[in-house]
């Protein structure tokens, strides 16, 4: 399955057929630091993603002079 990462935008391939939380763990991403977007919907970390899926992991953190 395809995973879109941001800042900078890039795409990687990982194994599907498992839960989002397992994908996040493999990528060393804390669940509360990204929105998980499939198509035009948000999905939770317990959802199963399949080999043909594309998900975007959109970071939620902003910083600097706030």
């Amino acid at each position: 399955m395809k995973v879109i990462l941001r800042n900078p935008r890039r795409e990687i391939e990982v194994a599907g057929g498992r839960r989002v939380k397992d994908v996040l763990r493999e990528l060393h991403i804390l669940p509360e630091t990204v929105l998980v977007i499939r198509g035009d919907e948000l999905i939770t970390a317990d959802q199963v993603v399949r080999d043909g899926d594309t998900i975007e992991l959109r970071p939620v953190m902003s910083g600097g002079a706030r």
Binding site: R6, M61, G63, G64
Partner: protein, 300 residues
């Protein structure tokens, strides 16, 4: 995962609330948190004019969206920082948001006001770019509001921003900063408008989810100068705490606001006067903004 309210499929889990919500119930939750923030700190009167500081990012556009939804009379303020393509793109997001909703947007240029854009300020001052940027933002927000006769500025600071600021202030025991940190800063001088942070009860995850679910077109790319910023490092530390113990950030910030802040506030009463140059409020003779502008103009 099921929505706590309706039992439908959840789109977002909020571990600190031990809950998950579907999209409509999350949007309700979000609006309720904003209402509670406004109520608790008496941030806004229903009929007053609010200047909303917008950057094109998720937080400030989500704030503007929710305030419009709640029926407030608002004007947006975008400060053009002159940070290359990032500023071009973020300004476009704000202009499109304002045009789409038919609401007014003021654009002010830091380069015109200070004498140079943020990248130049960074070179001239040889300090972290966020320092001059934050100073310019606070100054210009206040002055634009005063010039327009608007009594309150609303900013998109969220729970993570506030927790990270608190963490940084405690790490250096900046007692003056601790005294000032609040979701609502009152006007303590005729030339200081109130500043409020209606999103302080909501995490970055929640403001991002709100912006996404409301189909707000915000700038996802980060400010190029934010990389390596201390505030980001503090957020990463707090996120690891939160992952190990959901609610840690909430408890850290809310505990300070409810139990700790008053002690610092009592200890840090300062005398305010007007800057001899621009007339804005300062604790010295010349305000920090005028000193910054002098430094930039001297160097260029």
């Amino acid at each position: 995962m099921k929505c706590r309210k309706c039992g439908g499929t959840a789109v977002l889990e909020l571990r600190r609330h031990n809950a998950a919500f579907c999209a409509p119930d999350f949007l309700d939750f979000f609006r309720n948190q904003v209402r509670e923030a406004v109520r608790k700190y008496r941030m806004l009167d229903k009929d007053e004019h609010v200047l909303v500081a917008v950057s094109g990012g998720k937080d400030s556009l989500a704030l503007w969206d929710v305030l419009l939804d709640e029926g407030y009379r608002t004007t947006g303020l975008y400060l053009d920082l002159g940070i290359f393509d990032y500023s071009v793109e973020s300004r476009r997001k704000c202009e499109e948001f304002a045009a789409g909703r038919g609401v007014p947007l003021i654009v002010a240029s830091v380069a015109e006001e200070v004498g140079g854009p943020v990248p130049v300020i960074k070179e001239v001052t040889r300090r972290p770019p966020c320092s001059g940027c934050g100073l310019s933002k606070r100054y210009l927000m206040n002055r634009v509001a005063l010039d327009r006769g608007i009594g309150v500025v609303a900013t998109g600071h969220n729970l993570d921003d506030e927790a990270a600021t608190l963490f940084g202030s405690i790490a250096h025991w900046q007692t003056d900063a601790l005294a000032r940190q609040s979701p609502a800063l009152p006007s303590t001088h005729a030339k200081l408008v109130r500043r409020v942070k209606p999103l302080y009860r909501l995490s970055e995850l929640e403001t991002s989810a709100y912006a996404f679910l409301r189909r707000i077109d915000y700038i996802v790319e980060e400010c190029p100068f934010a990389k390596g910023a201390t505030s980001i490092a503090h957020k990463e530390i707090l996120n690891r705490m939160e992952d190990a113990s959901p609610g840690a950030k909430h408890n850290f910030l809310f505990g300070f606001l409810e139990k700790g802040r008053a002690a610092f506030e009592r200890a840090e009463a300062v005398e305010l006067r007007e800057c001899a140059r621009c007339g804005q409020v300062t604790t010295g003779t010349i305000c920090a903004f005028c000193k910054l502008a002098d430094q930039v103009k001297r160097t260029l």
